[in-house]
Amino acid sequence: MSQDGPVGPQAEEPRPVLVDAEVLSNEAISLGLYETVFRAPELALEARPAQFIGVKVSAGRDPFLRRPFSIARVDRNRGTVGILWARVGYGTELMSRWRPGETVNLLGALGNGFRPGRFKHLILVAGGTGIAPMPFVCLESFKENPRASISLLYGVKDKDSMYPVDRLTQEIPGVAVQVSTEDGSYGKKGLVTGLLEDCLTRVSGQPSILVFACGPKRMLSAVKAITTSARIPLYVSLEERMACGLGLCRGCAVRRAGGFKSKNPVDSVEQPGPGGSYTGRSSIRAGDSYFHVCLDGPVFSAEDVDLEG
């Protein structure tokens, strides 16, 4: 694993905890976009940027499964954890009715998370609800590397459904935020990949540039095409339909790029999974195999995963 890579949970890493968390606030911050803040001190202590939590939307049998949500905010002093989410279906409809004081069961922190390491220029690319992990990633990266420059490029449908980005710029004076909207109602009209191309033109030739992207697979695929031709390392945070978030069910599969690469030689290296756990890496046949987003990710080096499928 390279020094600049995502830092996955190692054997000695904290184990996920199950907590009954109090809803401190739950409100729409734009059209269809919500922010929920929980009191969950244990989680707040352990959570790292780009990790996620499994949310039991209601205590009963329906909805049945936990829903995975990126951790958007952590305040370790106050012991709070926040998530950003879009009201899109049955589960999130119920979530929109949560009231402060309610108790919600959370499982986390899950996944490997992302730590950019030493970089001079970090470019964060978010599409739609892919904005969710960015506040936490942004703040932690800034803390870790205050003299480096951080750009957040954010593509969203329109002004009304936009995450209020001034919240970020007020907290981190150094972060440069650029927005693109599909209808041109805010920022530049077009897709976020346009912003990325412009940004890369400006910083081209500079050393130690790193891109971290979260959003729809089609966007990630387009971002990968751009960073590949610019020879800039890209890390992507992936979403897949998920049941447990713990590696129990093997549900959240994502295809490896080109099967096994030389990095992961078949049957030659016992490559322990996160948490020292088995993920089938060393023994599953080459050529047609999968990572699991919950344990191996959600953050991957873009060259390791197939984003076309």
């Binding site: 996920p16 039991k56 329906d62 499982l107 049941a243 549900g251 599969a253 089938g280 195999s289």
Partner: protein
Amino acid sequence: MDLGVRLGDLKLKNPLIAASGVFGYGREYSRVGDIRWFGAVSTKGTTLHPRAGNPPPRVTETPSGMLNSIGLENPGIEAVIRHEIPWLSGFGVPIILNAAGESYDEFARIAAMAEEVPEIDAIEVNVSCPNVNAGGIAFGIDARSVYRATRAVRQNFSRTVIVKLSPAAVSIKDVARAAEEGGAQAVSLINTLVGMAIDIYSKRPVLGNVTGGLSGPAVKPVALRCVWDASQAVSIPIIGMGGIVSWQDAVEFLLAGASALALGSGLLVNPRLPPEILKGLQEYCVREGIDRIDALTGLAWKTGR
């Protein structure tokens, strides 16, 4: 209060089993729960050769349940014996190897390999996986093929043989009897029901494999009926499963005729389910004046109307 149960030669300290497919080979579970909570654990469905599994999406939420089409992703029996069983056996909890053959011969070969590994206490013959093209459920719907698969394992494995049955069988009673006649010392049921979901925006099936196995509370009434039927048709014990998420569910399955209980998708939602259920079971038995959990088995049909 005695929570111990017997499955053939196998003694379990309590009736709870981690169902195949929600437990891997235990490593992931051990990060969030204690393997020692269980009376026994059933491994991920293991095949003769490694399998990469089905294309995603592999899981989706459904009303009070879920669909999965994992497709028996597993590293194959050799790697399981080499890397997983030694680790898992360290917990001192009986290990049930869930074996999924694509043919009678493959069942026989997996059984023969498991026979050489004394840490494998039992084989669960998987004749009911709905997510593979060859083997799986195709064996489980017909009594004769259930008998043959059971025999193939029985003749190569000297310890406990369990057969996991499908609710899609033409007759649950017939396949349960076929398993018993083939030499099984227990049957487990139910495996998942075949179902599907469609994405109304992409206008395509949600699952990459089109169909998947339905599990969770949604299938509990079906599972209870299968346990009820099977337990009256055979004299070997039944491992009941299908939507158990509370101690009350567990009691229902015992009353319907189960001797042991497997936790499946309920464990995905709440990995700490076992101690909650055991506590509830114990309190229930005390309230009801029952001193052995196995006294509950089949009471619903033994006591008549």
